[in-house]
Symmetry: C2
Subunit: 223 residues, 2 copies
């Protein structure tokens, strides 16, 4: 096989990164500094190098733009409408990612193109077909939380059952009965109690739990 340099033409990678912040689902967006769609909000993304996979490119882009660590990342869908990019025929291999809020270095400085969190329920117009991509990713988050242990990526290493519960309510945008939820979740054996106790708040201290495994794992059935 021949060796190449530079970028693969005609293919980009775009990543929809979700987190839970202030009790609501947020997505990471940049503001485009150059045309097309200058000043529009867009998903972080870019072209891929000849020597890297699409997932590799996604991880590189997230690391460079946002210093992300401990991310849950998987391929989402390839968007390929003929006219989705005014520059020509460009196909986007999109990715779906979950992170804890504090795993992203959101530089609040005025660097344009620096990523920031945006509430999914109140997005302005996005560049390209990125609104469609985000909508597609939103559909996936529920199934990931319901059929896998992906929740570990949205939470700190140690967390209380209350945090876990609040996170599910925010991500699925619905009320969930706390007793039933905790009963069900504990029966799955995905998490275990630790000896840590979170105190210092003006309330009863909470026992902290951790995920038994912080690797992607599929379940038969969840809840």
């Amino acid at each position: 096989m021949k060796t190449h340099q530079g970028y693969v033409p005609g293919i980009t990678v775009d990543i929809t990164v979700f987190t839970i912040k202030d009790g609501a689902l947020h997505v990471l967006l940049i503001e485009r500094a150059s045309p097309p769609y200058k000043k529009h909000l867009a998903l972080p993304g870019g072209f891929l190098f000849f020597h890297e996979t699409a997932e590799g490119a996604a991880r590189r882009i997230l690391k460079d733009k946002a210093g992300v660590k401990n991310i849950y990342l998987e391929q989402l869908y390839s968007f390929d409408s003929v006219d989705r990019d005014p520059r020509g025929r460009i196909i986007s291999i999109s990715f779906f990612a979950l992170v804890a809020e504090d795993a992203v270095e959101v530089t609040e400085g005025r660097t344009t193109e620096s990523p920031r969190w945006h509430r999914v329920s109140a997005l302005s117009k996005l560049a390209f077909d990125h609104a469609r991509i985000v909508a597609y990713a939103e559909k996936r988050i529920a199934s990931k939380l319901e059929y896998t242990n992906a929740a570990y990526a949205l939470l700190p290493r140690f967390f209380s059952l209350g945090q876990l519960h609040a996170m599910y309510e925010a991500a699925l945008s619905k009320k969930i009965d706390k007793r039933n939820f905790i009963k069900k979740f504990l029966s799955l054996k995905l998490i275990r109690p630790t000896k840590k106790i979170l105190s210092g708040l003006r309330q009863r201290p909470a026992r902290l739990y951790e995920f038994v495994s912080r690797k992607p794992t599929e379940l038969k059935k969840f809840f």
Copy 2:
């Protein structure tokens, strides 16, 4: 946007077409006439034109190579290992398809490259990373049959409950209790009885059913 002619470089489309035949899951494969992987079995596929979407290319290829009609088709995954194709950096946008056996014109003539059905449980080595693609598609068939009405694509327009049951057992490769299966399936209201009766066999005649809708539909829960 500029107009282009010819093929998009660096991207192919490959389709995993499944059917149920002789009580077992089969996949449609061609024998490659030219290198690389000459004489190996491979998924039907090809490059896409500048003016068509990947799904459009998939439908065109299936129509040209196998005269397929009434197909259930959806994007599966994009395979992008750096070394998956000896000709260079070529990414495959793969598709997943379900058809009734008789919806494909399998020309039994000796034309090489003409598609034929192969039992999934006994595949020989495939070209490229097509074995991985087929394995990935196999994982999807169960969820499609369990969470959507995709079964319509694997059956003739009118079918007996016995055929439906046998088809599910073949596709999921497991025994399913017939009474429970039928009870559950009927409760979903996806199918309705017709006035047609299948007789002429040396057995009790069967009432024929049809799908209420033959468009892809998602269900909350299936079975």
